[in-house]
Symmetry: C2
Subunit: 96 residues, 2 copies
Amino acid sequence: MLVLITYDVNTESSAGRTRLRKVAKQCENYGRRVQNSVFECILDQAQCVMLKSLLSDIIDEDVDSLRLYYLGNKYQTKVEHIGVDRGIAADQTLIL
Amino acid sequence: MLVLITYDVNTESSAGRTRLRKVAKQCENYGRRVQNSVFECILDQAQCVMLKSLLSDIIDEDVDSLRLYYLGNKYQTKVEHIGVDRGIAADQTLIL
């Protein structure tokens, strides 16, 4: 299923900036960055539980915000993009 | 239906910062800000077409990115939040 992950991490402190880097790094392991703080991840149930747990452990719930949107398996018609595109589709194989 | 709008506007120029403010202002007219560049809007088809048209006219498609995610009418179970919350639910009436 497609899971959209969006986050706002408070970067006023150096600890915050470290959290931001860690959140991005974890999301990069599971999906593709489509905008600065927006990742699209194709996950099964177990991967989703794992990623959510990892991200919850990183963020400071008093100042950071993390949102997950579950778009299911038939997500192709549920996403629309306008403007510059940053990457490849989350389920598209990249052949180098 | 719930339409999630996420955007990255290139703010390297003052024109970019103006675009960013305009995009946010239009989104505020139609929904609630849940994160810095993420809005949740409850829209019917006509409103959605209108908002998309307004935003498309504002952004610079060569450098800005706008994404829309259509979460349908049964969206309550498709959204999960962790951490600090910025606002009220998009379909919740605010009594002052």
